[in-house]
Amino acid sequence: MALAREEAFGRAALKRSLTAIDRGLAIRGAGITAFLLVVLLVCPLAGNAWTKTFTGAAIYAVVAASLGILYGRVGMISLGQIGMLVVATWIGARLSFASSMPFPVLLLVTGLVTMVVGVIVGLPALRLSGLYLALITLMFAGAVTVIINKWQFPNGGHGLIGHLSALNVQDIQTVRRPSSFGNDDDYFRYVVIVCVILFAVALAHVSGKPGRAWKAIRESETAALATGINITLYKMWAFALASFMVGVAGCLYAAQLAQPSAQSFATQDSITLLATALIGGIYSFWGAVVAGVFAQVVPYLFTAQGLWGWTTDANIITIIFGVGLLQVLLTAPGGLAQQFPKDMANLGRLIWRLAGRLRPRPA
């Protein structure tokens, strides 16, 4: 008798939890779909220069998400993700000129080649503790800056480096885009869809077995080892996934810029990426989207475009990012993605309470 009641109770609880999960998923799915619809339909209406900025933001969001996987999920800090983006952009441009493969294949191959480079750079991660890994990746980013200033990006020349000086202006070519997505609006939609696929791949990893292993490694490497997790394998896996994402993003970026140049990447970009990724929220994929907006749209809004006629110097934005980085590390490790819903809920409760005071009470 008691057993049957318990069983019925258990079944009801199970049913409740299942419907609860379903409802949560449905709300989340609806939110993401609405967001994507707005992005795909409304963003291109803003004009050509804005569309280019939004394309940059989408690409940047993927790079921020790759940093989120490394630091937010596994606890390994890489200060060289922009260096990796430079490498990927170079590889993308190089392969684009060297072959005539269809664009999606080009994206995939660039992703895979960058993945190999990323794993080679990440190999020290297996041996070095967190701080040293941060330093080695910072140095990697520095070395990439030096080399890319020397090599420049391929623009249709011969040989491995394939860079023509400005004197050969008639021979200079641009990195090709997918054939039916040539104009900026279509290319923006293409980039957003590729980025959504990359986010989905990352999400599948995080919510699956590798995600659980990464979490265990982040909490305690010793405990993870004791439970039989292959630390070497899963750390490499994280590096491979992050580099693959940056690789595809780099190829998209090469086609977006058409003629990438070393000037497209500033020395402090790696640090700005870290700042924006942390401000957006390093533990969440929404945070990566916010980071993309912060890193690309906000500077454009305040410098090139001007907000209600008020323009400012890009350096002021750098200062704000610096202050934001300190603030996030001090008070809100989850960044805006975690803080904003909390603040909104608090605000809602406050309004509810105030409204309650105004409501006439029954005598």
Binding site: I136, G142, I147, L225, N315, T318, V323, L329
Partner: protein
């Protein structure tokens, strides 16, 4: 292949290399200075200050402004740069040191990048590049030249080299023999136990912040003179990478190894410069010599980290 053969068979003679040796020691000395400052701060507070480059560069720029826009004597302007390094670092330490004290070293280190971004932004805003007449900071000591066995040496080079040795020796002795030094070593070992034993943690940490900041300001001045540029990006970048490389070779712990690491990096970089400026040499390779600190530090890191060790971070460490 030809250039490689030339390197191997030494067609570049001793006399060609000679002028580059003092230069190498000078750069090495500056890197070592900054590296030692970093290591001392890291040992005492657990903070690896990645804003060192930005602080040193900002100090040099301020010094340039005082020399060119006010009637202040040069010496005072140099002292202001050194003091700026000390004050900014100390203020950061006082404001954020305690707040981050219980966080892992990685978080403490990332936080200093916030300060670096603020300073880089400020420099870009207040001192935009002057393309027509770039800024230069020229120390008067660079005009006092000597000839030592065929190589021309100027006083800035001698100062940089000697300062690095004196500072390393002085700091090592200070940490070993004085009360404050002992307290710093105690802090490096265990902050909580030191506090329980009555070590004035805040004061000792403040001393470390101030000291490392002053060294950073001085190193920034010397590097601005030796690199012959005041471009914020170039200077910040070169400064921090070389200082980090030296500190890493000292495993963020050993002062003498940091000194040696800094000197080796400076010397190798300068000698490569000698090879590359040799007329018959493939000039297009000379851009790569800037990669020297990365290559040496990365090789060093991999060599030092060749044994796989799992460390469990203690809270508050």
């Amino acid at each position: 292949m030809h250039s490689l053969a030339m390197l191997a068979f030494g067609r570049v003679g001793w006399t060609d290399l000679k002028p580059f040796i003092p230069l190498g020691f000078a750069f090495g000395g500056i890197y070592a200075l900054a590296g030692v400052g970093m290591v001392v701060l890291y040992r005492a507070t657990g903070v690896l200050n990645l804003s060192f480059g930005a602080i040193g560069t900002a100090g040099a720029l301020i010094s340039w402004w005082f020399i060119n826009h006010t009637g202040v004597p040069d010496v005072i302007a140099y002292l202001i740069a050194v003091a700026f390094g000390g004050v900014v670092t100390l203020l950061y330490g006082l404001l954020f040191g305690p707040a981050f004290a219980a966080r892992p070293p990685l978080v403490k280190t990332m936080a200093t990048l916030g300060l670096a971004l603020v300073l880089v932004g400020l420099m870009g805003h207040l001192a935009p590049p002057l393309n027509a007449s770039p800024r230069f900071l020229h120390l008067p000591s660079s005009d006092w030249r000597y000839r030592i066995s065929g190589a021309i040496v100027n006083w800035t080079e001698i100062i940089a080299f000697l300062f690095a040795i004196v500072l390393t020796f002085g700091t090592a002795a200070y940490l070993r023999f004085t009360k404050l030094g002992t307290a710093m070593r105690a802090l490096a070992n265990d902050r909580e136990i030191s506090a329980t034993l009555g070590v004035p943690v805040r004061r000792v940490e403040a001393a470390a912040w101030l000291g490392s900041g002053l060294v950073c300001g001085a190193a920034g001045l010397l590097l601005a003179d030796q690199l012959n540029t005041l471009d914020p990006n170039t200077l910040t970048f070169n400064f921090i990478i070389a200082a980090l490389a030296a500190a890493v070779l000292g495993r963020l712990r050993f002062l003498w190894a940091t000194l040696a690491g800094g000197l080796v990096i400076g010397l190798v970089q300068s000698l490569l410069n000698a090879y590359f400026s040799w007329p018959n040499f493939d000039q297009s390779l000379s851009a790569y010599r800037t990669v020297t600190p990365f290559v040496i530090a990365t090789t060093g890191l991999l060599w030092l980290g060749r044994r796989r060790v799992i460390t469990v971070a203690r809270s508050g460490n």
